[in-house]
Each structure stands twice: as structure tokens, then as C-alpha cells.
Symmetry: C2
């Protein structure tokens, strides 16, 4: 049931992305599509579609906007991988964008995807415009200089050496939580959710974002290169502070569990309608890539 | 009269930008503000305000959105200057962003400004929302992978060696014309302009954009480093095809003149209301920086 719906949602998303007017034999299009179509899990647009549905909206209506979120996410991956930032060579089992297309094209492909993301957020979709404008404003704030970009600044340029749990939590909230929360809010707002519903879904998303990141840290130690599509142990190599490095592996797993419970608890009032998002939380906890 | 109004407009713009919640002692804020507040001519937001006025709108209402255009412009400067692209050391008489803050911060400051630009485009302003959504969508398209970003790709990665006039014109239309046209359209659409008015203003802006770029090429040869705030002769050094290099200096000046005439002619129906934008065209033609 969960897997069926996940496949239904990702089917809608892939279909929309594939039908965009990509230009053949064009280095910019190819570079953008290379990372965008590299088989990501589509976590952000799926969350948006599910959030629209849980508040009684039609998931299909929010597809263009939800795909805008995936573009924004993909831009952040391409830029983060650049030599000036994380200098990563592999992503999802393939060489990173700049390794294939060069730094100049990768940089511009990221710029193109970020901009395309906002173009899609402003798509001509049948929703009340005051909701759509609110979503654009909120998403920009979430991924901008006080949100996701700040998270990347803190992560790349922040103090080296050991960080406190609250410092790491702050970075994770900004780097991952902000866009996940924006994704859920996008679906819930466009879908016509009530204030209280949007608030509960935001709590769910923030907890899920943190769980997602803790799980990432755990997988970097316990995962396999085959499943992850990138080398493991990179945090250790970079002497990066992570949940496991500070709390120990057991402590990190307890934190992960707690965040999953927190996320699920926030959905109580949705009763049986919450099934997909509850399973989604389990999926985040148990995923191996 | 022209100068007074220009100062009035830039006064509104500077005031708005300075009051944004920049964080003190924060490297990301400082890096973003370093280039944003470096005394640019504010051509894009000024055009937006003037276009709002010429169609009978209140320029003051569009200030937040117009300042979004300046952020988007500034992001493009910071990214274009990066070593992976143009590798420029000076801009407006000062070291470029990455020379001061390093590549990582400059890259992220650009990302932050682009995102902030869209946040401002989606500001809570008293205009009909269908106009605002249209403006966001159009602006994203103009500066994205089929517009300004593509112009940068063609300019940086395009064929080396001699380009034809039509190839250069295409690059200029994308790199400069697209955002200038979007700026004028933003003001005219938000200000409530009629279809025909918006169309004429778009013709004005496209011609002005080309004139702007031809003038840039001319100044790179005839200008002074003092006035420009950057070294002259860089096109020659890079063996870049420009209007003067292909048409000769006289030919380039004739083209410039023609474009200015084309721009002005598009404003005929606005009669005396066109005064500011007519003077603006003269200013583009005669500026020395």
C-alpha cells in the first residue's frame, strides 16, 4: 500500500519532469537533467503531494509546484558538490555534475535549476493565488540566506573541530529541515489545509528532517557504498562532527527513534488519513540509502 | 529633471535595501551586501519604477519587487566573476566578491541573492495577485536556463574565435536584454499597463538592452579605468568578439545610435509621459561608466 502510493506519486513526478522542454544536444540542458534525472528518491515532491492529500486537496494539482521543490533540491546538491564547497566526486553512484560537465557548466546548471524551481512554483495551476504567493514566499525564505543557504555556510565554513549537539541540530534544521518543512507546507497550503493542520504537518516535517539527517550520518558509518552510491566514511575522513561522533552510535540511534516518534505523534489528529506519512517516517528510519 | 527623478527612484531603492534585516558580523550577510551595496546604478529597479509610472501605476508600490530584480542582477555578477566563469578580479572599483570572501562564500552569497530576489518578488504588496504571479513566472523564465543563464553559458562556453553579429546579438539579448525587459515588464504589469503598453515597453527594453551592451563593448576600448572601476581592454585580451571588433568602432557606434532610436520610437504613444524613459535611453548612450 505504502509502496504503491509512493510509486504512484513518483510516477506523476517523473512524468512531469520528463515532459519539460529539455533541449537535446545542449550542454546546459544535459547538465541540468544529468543530476535532476539521476534517480533520486523524490522525497520533497512526494511529501508535498502527500501533504496536499492529507488535508483533502488533489495531489495532482500541486505537481508542477512540487517538482519545483525537486529542482531547488537538485541545485543545492550540484552547488554543494562543487570543489569550492564539499568537493565531492560521486553522488547517487555516478560522478558528480562538475566531474562530467566541468565547474562552469555545473555552476550554471545549478543556477538554472534554482531559477526553474521558482518558475515552476509560479506555474499556472488551479489554486487560489493567495495560497500560491504565500508558498513562493515561504519556500524562498526556507531555502535562502536565512535557511538552506545559511545551513550550507555553517556546514562548510563553520567552526572546525567538535560541535555541540545543538550546533549540529541547527545546521541540520537549516540544511535539510527547512526544505522538507517547506515541501510539506507547500502541499498543505496549496491543498487548502487549515492553520492547525499546517502547523502539525510542519512539526512532522521538522522532526522528519532531523531524522533524515541523523540516518544519513548513521549510513555514512554503517551503510554500504553499493547501496548509497557514494563512498562511506566521508564524515570521519573530514573529521566532521555528526550525531554518532558525539553521541556514539547507540545514542544517535536513540535520537533517530525519538525524532521518528515525534514526527508520528504530530499526525495523531489526522487519524487513518495519516497512514502514508506514518509509513514515510518508518521508511526514513529504515532506509539503507 | 531626469537627474532628480533618477535620484528620487534610487533613493527609494537604497532605502529599501538598507532596511533589510542584514545580520551584523555574519560572513554571508556581509558577502551579499558587499556586492549588492557597492554603488551600482540600479538600472533594473529604476526601469521597473519608471515603467510602473508611465502606465499610471504608483512606483512606490513596486519597490520590493523591483529590488528583487537588483538582487537577481547582483547574483549574476557574483557568479559570473567566479574563477570557474569569467575569473574577474575587479568590479565597480573594488575587488570582486570571491577575492574578498573566498570562492565558497561568494558562490553561496550568489545563491542567497538569487533566492532573496524571488522572495522579494513574492512580497506582500498591494497589487492584484494574478499580476504578481505572472511577473514571478516571467522573471524566472527571463533569467533562467532559457534566458540569462543560457546567455552566460553561450558567452563563457560558446565557440571561441570570431562570432557573427547575429551570434553576439543573441548572447547580448540573453545576458542583458532578458533581465532589462523583465524589469520594464515587471513595472508595467504590476502598474496595471494595457497589453499594448506592455508590448511597446518591451520593445523599448530589448533595444535598450542591446544598446547597453554595445556601449559596454565601446567603453571597454574607449573608457577609462578610473570611470569604469575595472580594467579596460579585457575583451581584447580575451580575444572576445564584440560589436567594435566585428563592425569597427564607427560601425558599433552607428549600431548603438540605431538601437537608441529604436528604443525611443517604441515610446511614441506615451507622448510627454515618456520623458524619463527617453532621457534614460540618452543616458545609456552617453554614460562613461
Amino acid at each position: 500500500m505504502f509502496q504503491n502510493k509512493y510509486s504512484y506519486f513518483t510516477g506523476l513526478i517523473e512524468d512531469f519532469l520528463q515532459k519539460l522542454p529539455w533541449k537535446a544536444n545542449d550542454v546546459l540542458s544535459e547538465s541540468m537533467a544529468y543530476t535532476l534525472m539521476a534517480g533520486g528518491k523524490r522525497v520533497r515532491p512526494v511529501l508535498a503531494l502527500a501533504a496536499a492529500e492529507i488535508v483533502g486537496g488533489a495531489p495532482e494539482v500541486v505537481i508542477p509546484c512540487a517538482c519545483g521543490l525537486e529542482m531547488i533540491h537538485t541545485y543545492s546538491l550540484i552547488h554543494d558538490d562543487l570543489p569550492a564547497l564539499d568537493n565531492d566526486d560521486y553522488r547517487r553512484g555516478r560522478p558528480t555534475n562538475h566531474k562530467v560537465f566541468g565547474e562552469a557548466t555545473a555552476l550554471l546548471a545549478g543556477d538554472g535549476l534554482l531559477t526553474y524551481g521558482f518558475q515552476l512554483l509560479a506555474s499556472d495551476v488551479p489554486v487560489p493565488l493567495e495560497r500560491q504567493i504565500k508558498v513562493i514566499r515561504e519556500t524562498a525564505e526556507a531555502v535562502g540566506w536565512q535557511g538552506m543557504v545559511r545551513g550550507q555556510v555553517l556546514d562548510t565554513l563553520g567552526e572546525k573541530g567538535e560541535l555541540s549537539v545543538s550546533q549540529i541540530t541547527n545546521i541540520h534544521h537549516l540544511k535539510t529541515g527547512a526544505l522538507l518543512t517547506a515541501s510539506v507546507r507547500l502541499g498543505a497550503i496549496l491543498g487548502g489545509g487549515l492553520e492547525e493542520e499546517i502547523r502539525q504537518l510542519s512539526i512532522y516535517a521538522a522532526a522528519l528532517g532531523l531524522a533524515f539527517q541523523i540516518k544519513d550520518d548513521i549510513l555514512d558509518i554503517e551503510g554500504t557504498e553499493d547501496a548509497l552510491g557514494k563512498p562511506v566514511g566521508s564524515d570521519l575522513k573530514l573529521q566532521k562532527s555528526t550525531y554518532p561522533s558525539i553521541l556514539g552510535m547507540d545514542g544517535a540511534k536513540i535520537q533517530l527513534k525519538q525524532k521518528i516518534i515525534e514526527a508520528k505523534t504530530a499526525l495523531e489528529k489526522f487519524e487513518e488519513k495519516a497512514e502514508f506519512l506514518l509509513c514515510f517516517a518508518d521508511y526514513i528510519e529504515t532506509r539503507n540509502h
